[in-house]
Amino acid sequence: MNILYDERVDGALPAVDLPALLQALHQALPDLAILHRAEDLKPYECDGLSAYRTVPLLVVLPERLEQVQTLLQLCHQRGVPVVARGAGTGLSGGALPLAKGILLVMARFNRILEINAQGRFARVQPGVRNLAISQAAAPHGLYYAPDPSSQIACTIGGNVAENAGGVHCLKYGLTVHNLLKVEMLTVEGERLTLGSDALDSPGFDLLALFTGSEGMLGIITEVTVKLLPKPQVARVLLASFDCVEDAGRAVAEIIAAGIIPGGLEMMDNLAIRAAEDFIHAGYPVDAAAILLCELDGVEADVHDDCQRVAAVLTQAGAREVRLACDEAERARFWAGRKNAFPAVGRISPDYYCMDGTIPRRELPRVLKGISELSEQYGLRVANVFHAGDGNMHPLILFDANRPGELERAEAIGGKILELCVAVGGSITGEHGVGREKINQMCTQFNRDEITLFHAVKAAFDPQGLLNPGKNIPTLHRCAEFGALHVHHGQLPFPELERF
C-alpha cells in the first residue's frame, strides 16, 4: 500500500488558497525567508528516505523564535498543516513534506547558546548539529553521548524529535536519556518548557512523551542536553566467527559476565565483504559474522575488561580475536562498520535500510527468517546489527531501475519488521516510524492502542495540523492494510506465537 499521504485513508487535509496564504505571510512576516517557486522547493521534496518525495506547498526558513511563533499562529488560524525539518537526514520520512503543507526548516537556528562545564550541560538551538555539541564541549573534556551515524550532519532538534540512538546506546542511552530540557512552541504558538535545569520537574514527564514524537506535538525551539566526561580510553576487539549463532551467543555471554561494552556491533558476511572492499578495515572476508566490541572508561578497567571479553569471545567459539593495536587500527575497525551503509551502496544500485529491534535471544531465528525471505523475494540482504541492544539494520539490496524491484524491497522490508514484532520486538529502534513504517504500526499496535496514541496527539494538537500522517496511522489505514494482508494470503510466520 502506497506510503505517500493519501487523503482517502490518512484523512482529508484542508484546501489551501496559496496566493492568499503567501500574502498573509508576507504581511505578517515581511523578513521571513519563504521559498515558493518550483525550482526552489524541489531540493526539499524528501529527507534521508529519498525513495519517497512530495514537493511542499511552501518552504519557510525562520531565524528567530518570534517568526516561528507568528507562523504557527497564522497556520493555526488558517488550518494549514506544518511539517518541521532539521537537516533532513532522517531515514523514515519523518520530514517528508505535504503538498498541502508548509515545510518549516529549523536549520538556521544553529547557535550554541551555552556550554556549562560545571553544570555539565549544553544549551543549544535546535538546528545545531549533533557533532558540533561534542566539538564545542571537547575543550572541557566533556561530550554529548548519543551519536547517530549521521552525526556530522543531523541536528539536535531532529534527534529529539526522533529520539535518535547510535552505536553507544546500551551503555549511554538514547536521546531521551541525555536531555534536561526542551523549549517548544505548541501548534497555537504558545511557549512551553518541558523538563528543567534540574534533574526532574513537577507534573507529568512531558519531556519523555515529547522525545521521539516526530514533530507531532510541538515545534522544538531550544534544547538543553547533558554532557558527560570523556572516557579516558577506548579499545576495540574484533572477533570473527564461522557461524552467526556463535556470535549471537557471544553477545549474551559478554553481558552475562557483567560487562556493558561502550559499543557492541555485529556484521554478517555480505556486510563484511562490502565494507572490506570499500574501507579495507582488515575484516576477515570469509567469516560468517564479526563482532566489534568497544570497551571504554578508565585505563585499568578497560585493560581488565578487554582480557575478560577476549576470553568470553574465544570460549563462545570465535576463531580469531584481535585487539586494535593502536588508535589508527581502532579507527579503521570502526570505519568499516560506520561505512557499512555506503559500502553496501557500492555493491548494489539501491539499498533499503531497515531498523527493527528484537530480544537478543531471538537473533538466530530472525536471521534465519530474513535469509528465507531473501530467497523467497530474490533480493540480497546484508545484516548490520547493534548487537548489544538488539537493534537490527538489515540492508535490502535492489535496483530501482528494474521494474517491480522497489516494490519487492518494500514488501520484504515490511515482512522483516513483522517478523521482529512477532518475536516480541519493535518495528523501529531509532529511525522512527515517519511515513516509512506507518503500515507496520498496525502490526505492532492494536486499534485501541492506536486510538490512545491519537488521544495523546489530540491533547496537544486537536486539529492535527502538526506533521499530519506521520508516526501514528489512522484506523482507516490499518483496516485497509489488514485487508490487504488477508487478500494476499496467510499472515507471515504462522508457526510463531503472536503476542
Partner: protein, 350 residues
C-alpha cells in the same frame, strides 16, 4: 507456595465498573508513598494481589513484573543474578511495590550518574480511562514506535491510568563498590563535586550532611582503587546509602517538615532556613524546615529548581506554570475523560 497471581482481569473489571458508575478510584500498592501529593477520595484499587515476576532473562538485561510485585522480591531476584535496578528506587516502607515505585518515579542516590526510574522503563501494560488493558513499549532496549506512553506513566502517580505490568532495563552490579567519608565544609564539598563531575571518576553517589562529604565509588577494581587513592578520606559502611535512600539517617529524625529540593547540579550552597542534607552530588537537597512552602519555592525558583513537600496536602506537589497545567489537563482529559484515576493526587482537577 508462590504468591504469583495474574489479577489483571479483576482490575479491568473494577475499572470498567467504575467507568459505568462514574466512581473515582484510589490506586494503592504498599501505600508507602502516601506522604506525596494530595489525599485522594475514591474506591480503593489494591494492586498487591496482582503480583509476580513475569519474565527475567539476565542476559537480555530486562525484567518484567506485575505492578503489585514487592520491590524487595524484584531486588532479590536481580541480586541473585548479580544485577540491579540502577536507579535504586526508594521503598519508604517494606510493602513498596514495583507499580508504586514507577508511578511515584522516585530515584535513589545513583540518580545523577545512572538515571531515573523513567530512564529504565522499557514497557508497560496499562488499564486506560477507556476501560482497555493496553501494552506500550516492550522488552527491547530501543523502541521508538508510537508515543512513549510507558515513560509518561513513570512519575504520573496513577493519574493517567492503572499500571498493571512494567518492563525495566537492569544492569550488572558493579565489580567493585567502596564508600568514603571526607570531612569538609559544604562550600568546599560542592566545589569539589563540581570539579570531579567533569572528570571520568567512578563516583556513583555523593552526599554532604554539613560535616563531611560521603562518596560511593563503583566500577572496575582499577578505577575504584585509583580514585580511592586520589580522593583520600576514611572508608564508610555502604549501608549509609541505603539509609539515605530510605530516609533513615539521623537527619530525617528532626520533627520539622521535610522538603525535597530538586536543583541544577552546580547550584552551589543554598541559604535557607532549617537544616540541609545534600544528595545527588548537589542536584537534590533535603531540607528540614518550618518555613512556608511559598517562601521556599520562591527561593529555590531563583536557581531554577523546584520544591516537593513530603507531607500529603496542598503543599506537596510543586505548582505548574499556567500554560503547562493547561496541557496537563488536556492530557488527563484525553486519557482519563471521566477523571476516575487518582483524581486530585497531583493537582486539583487532575
Amino acid at each position: 507456595m508462590s504468591k504469583d497471581r495474574d489479577m489483571s482481569q479483576a482490575l479491568l473489571d473494577q475499572v470498567n465498573q467504575a467507568l459505568r458508575l462514574g466512581t473515582a478510584l484510589r490506586i494503592q500498592g504498599g501505600n508507602s508513598k502516601a506522604m506525596l501529593g494530595r489525599p485522594v477520595t475514591g474506591e480503593l484499587v489494591d494492586t498487591r494481589n496482582h503480583r509476580g515476576i513475569v519474565s527475567y532473562d539476565p542476559t537480555e538485561l530486562v525484567i518484567t513484573a506485575r505492578a503489585g510485585t514487592p520491590l524487595l522480591e524484584i531486588e532479590a531476584a536481580l541480586h541473585e543474578a548479580g544485577q540491579m535496578l540502577p536507579c535504586e528506587p526508594p521503598h519508604l516502607g517494606v510493602e513498596a511495590t514495583l507499580g508504586g515505585a514507577v508511578a511515584a518515579g522516585l530515584s535513589g542516590p545513583r540518580r545523577p550518574w545512572a538515571g531515573a526510574v523513567r530512564d529504565y522503563v522499557l514497557g508497560t501494560r496499562v488499564i486506560t480511562g477507556h476501560g482497555k488493558l493496553l501494552r506500550f513499549g516492550g522488552e527491547v532496549m530501543k523502541n521508538v514506535a508510537g508515543y512513549d506512553v510507558s515513560r509518561l506513566m513513570a512519575g504520573s502517580f496513577g493519574c493517567l491510568g492503572l499500571l498493571t505490568e512494567v518492563s525495566l532495563k537492569v544492569l550488572p552490579q558493579p565489580r567493585q563498590c567502596l564508600s568514603l567519608c571526607l570531612p569538609m565544609g559544604r562550600q568546599q564539598a560542592l566545589a569539589a563535586l563540581a570539579e570531579w563531575g567533569q572528570q571520568p571518576l567512578p563516583i556513583s553517589a555523593a552526599c554532604h550532611d554539613g560535616e563531611a562529604l560521603y562518596l560511593r565509588l563503583e566500577g572496575g577494581e582499577g578505577s575504584v582503587q585509583s580514585a580511592r587513592q586520589r580522593l583520600g578520606g576514611d572508608e564508610l559502611d555502604s549501608g549509609f546509602w541505603h539509609d539515605l535512600r530510605e530516609q533513615r539517617l539521623a537527619f530525617f529524625d528532626d520533627p520539622a517538615p521535610l522538603w525535597r529540593l530538586s536543583v541544577p547540579i552546580a547550584s552551589g550552597a543554598l541559604n535557607l532556613p532549617g537544616r540541609q542534607l545534600i544528595d545527588w552530588g548537589g542536584a537534590q537537597r533535603w531540607l528540614k524546615s518550618s518555613a512556608s512552602a511559598q517562601s521556599l519555592r520562591a527561593a529555590v525558583a531563583q536557581v531554577g529548581g523546584h520544591v516537593t513537600g513530603y507531607a500529603p496536602g496542598e503543599d506537596s506537589s510543586a505548582p505548574l506554570p499556567a500554560a503547562l497545567l493547561r496541557y496537563h489537563r488536556a492530557l488527563k482529559q484525553q486519557l482519563d475523560p471521566q477523571g476516575i484515576f487518582n483524581p486530585g493526587r497531583l493537582y486539583p482537577d487532575l
